[in-house]
Symmetry: C2
DNA sequence: TTGTACGCGTTATCAA
DNA sequence: TTGATAACGCGTACAA
């Protein structure tokens, strides 16, 4: 039993295809009587219009493309969750692709989605300027683009992310208020958000008149966890052997922070007694870490949800160009890793 | 600048549409000369065929539907990662939906995907018998279905999951070999995989002639973490106050196991000195838990990858019905939570 | 070797 | 109020 089409209904009821189509669309042109007959028969046959044919006719695919760097972490899957929720509310389908932090793969993703046909694109770009011309082409082809999470891209459009400066400031200030003034900041190499987070860190230090020690800011390789572990360990040991021993670490990402906890445990350094730890993190089980992790949590689901809704708005209002950058507030969660109480 | 079509090329080169179409398909009917002209112009114009029109013509959407219960956890996002990889290799698009552990939502997902048009469906069902008739209808409509992760559904088709019995057996045996004989098994209510895991647990006990104590097997509510926490705590306290105090806990899921660690820490019970812990788990940072968590790890990416490839095979071989259930092997990872060495 | 004509399932315009 | 017809872009059987 194949799917029912307008033609099938037309034949069965001896009514023309176009009348059937209009009747199902509840058109004012059609008599109530005919409408009733058609609609009843259609629902009896479980008719639903062929979306592919509709797409071809209308020129819209009702599909949104989503490009993220990696899907296999809690932060991104929460964002996707938010996107998905919004897609259900709005009736759009979403097709997700992964760029795996590679500009060439990102390029391929954009091209595949474009060839496939999408009404709009949500993208968390690999880097600040990656594939910016391709994205511009999309926009010129009347396919709106919204950037999320990594809101550094120079593209003229809506962007949705978090206030990284403010989040880093809050984390650092919290550590200082706990009496920790020698704060090591470990961040990622080539990480789009690192600049803002570094500035937030610096700003908090400045506010409390704490001088910034140069080797207290380390950029690590976050692609390869072996190298990362080595770099974190070296950084900690170097700082420990200095005049001003560190008594706190502020990690810029989930991976950095959790691995730091592991390394500190291996080194036999007590957290938070000797070194307090806080980090940007969205793992679902901060309480189960060793020790329970204080963190700056990002409203991941909301990022996705808002980004999706902004995109839908752009799709429905093609001429709108009063673009906006939304920076959501982060949440400071204090647990044992940064607090002796 | 809209997208180039066959018609555009036809006009520009003064060649009929069908000749252009055939030339681009490298048809034997067309002269090399014409082919060259057409192909060069097409690639210059960056032509790619309109997928929607192709779909309408061919009756295939080149899209696979994926229905999972929840996307926001490491286990599932690793599976999706595997599905995605396979989809790139095979050139299919994937549309992901979430059933949120709700049979009615699951039903809606299936209907939406069916209305949209998919060439095949990958589903991790909410429960053993959920929407089985709908899925059968899909199959009758020549849309193959492959079941993954939760391979308990009675549908006649390919299924890909893990060997839960074996995994539970390995975990339990490991605990016994560590000298732990009073092993509490905490599992989830209405969890499809729980029966097999329970049997693996029982089998290992039997092999070592350890009697099964009835209140050493607890089914908890895994929907609501508040209730779950309470149930785990009560179970532990009850067992502790019995004649045979537990010296190990085997958790059936990620959430159960990590929350158990948290509860044990709150109760001031030392892991692994007093109680060893092991669980089914796929979190990315077992080493950062308190203490580093021993676990049965599931080859999540592979589950997705294999399921996708089996589905593609079914799509390409509509008459094939020699269905198979693949049970992948789990990996035992021993860390501090279950080992004193 | 090339071109014409038709159909996939819709929607929309215009005529009846 | 209804129906015939064209069109979206592509692929293909058949005619030239």
């Amino acid at each position: 039993m194949a799917k029912t089409t307008l033609k099938d209904i037309s034949k069965a009821l001896n009514i023309s295809i176009s009348t059937v189509s209009k009747a199902l669309a509840d058109s004012y042109e059609i008599s109530e009587k005919t409408k009733k007959i058609v609609q009843e028969y259609a629902s009896k046959m479980n008719f639903s219009p062929n979306k592919v044919a509709q797409s071809l006719k209308i020129g819209k695919t009702n599909t949104i493309g989503v490009i993220v760097c990696a899907i296999n972490n809690t932060f991104m899957s929460e964002i996707l969750d938010g996107i998905q929720k919004a897609s259900i509310e709005t009736g759009y389908d979403i097709v997700i692709m992964q760029s795996r932090e590679d500009i060439m793969i990102e390029k391929a993703c954009i091209e595949v989605l474009n060839a496939r046909g999408i009404d709009g694109l949500l993208i968390s770009p690999v880097s600040e300027t990656s594939n910016i011309n391709l994205l511009q082409e999309l926009q010129e082809n009347e396919t709106p683009v919204v950037i999320f999470d990594r809101i550094v891209n120079q593209l003229k459009t809506d962007k949705v992310g978090i206030n990284n400066f403010e989040g880093a400031y809050k984390a650092t200030k919290h550590l200082i208020e706990q009496g920790r003034t020698n704060i090591l900041h470990i961040t990622g190499h080539q990480l789009g958000v690192s600049k803002d987070r570094l500035n937030g860190y610096k700003d908090a230090l400045r506010e409390f008149d704490i001088p910034l020690k140069p080797y207290y800011f380390i950029e690590c390789n976050i692609q390869d966890t072996e190298i990362l572990d080595q770099q974190i360990k070296t950084a900690i040991l170097k700082a420990l052997s200095s005049d001003n021993k560190p008594n706190a670490i502020f990690g810029a990402t989930d991976v950095i922070t959790t691995r730091t906890l592991g390394i500190l445990a291996n080194l036999g350094i007590k957290v938070p007694e000797e070194i307090a730890v806080i980090g940007f993190s969205n793992i679902s089980i901060p309480f189960a870490l060793n020790p329970a992790l204080s963190r700056i949590k990002q409203p991941a689901g909301e990022i996705g949800n808002i980004a999706m809704k902004k995109l839908i708005y752009l799709i429905k209002h093609p001429t709108y160009n009063d673009f906006e950058t939304v920076e959501l507030e982060t949440i400071l969660e204090i647990r044992k890793s940064s607090s002796l109480n």
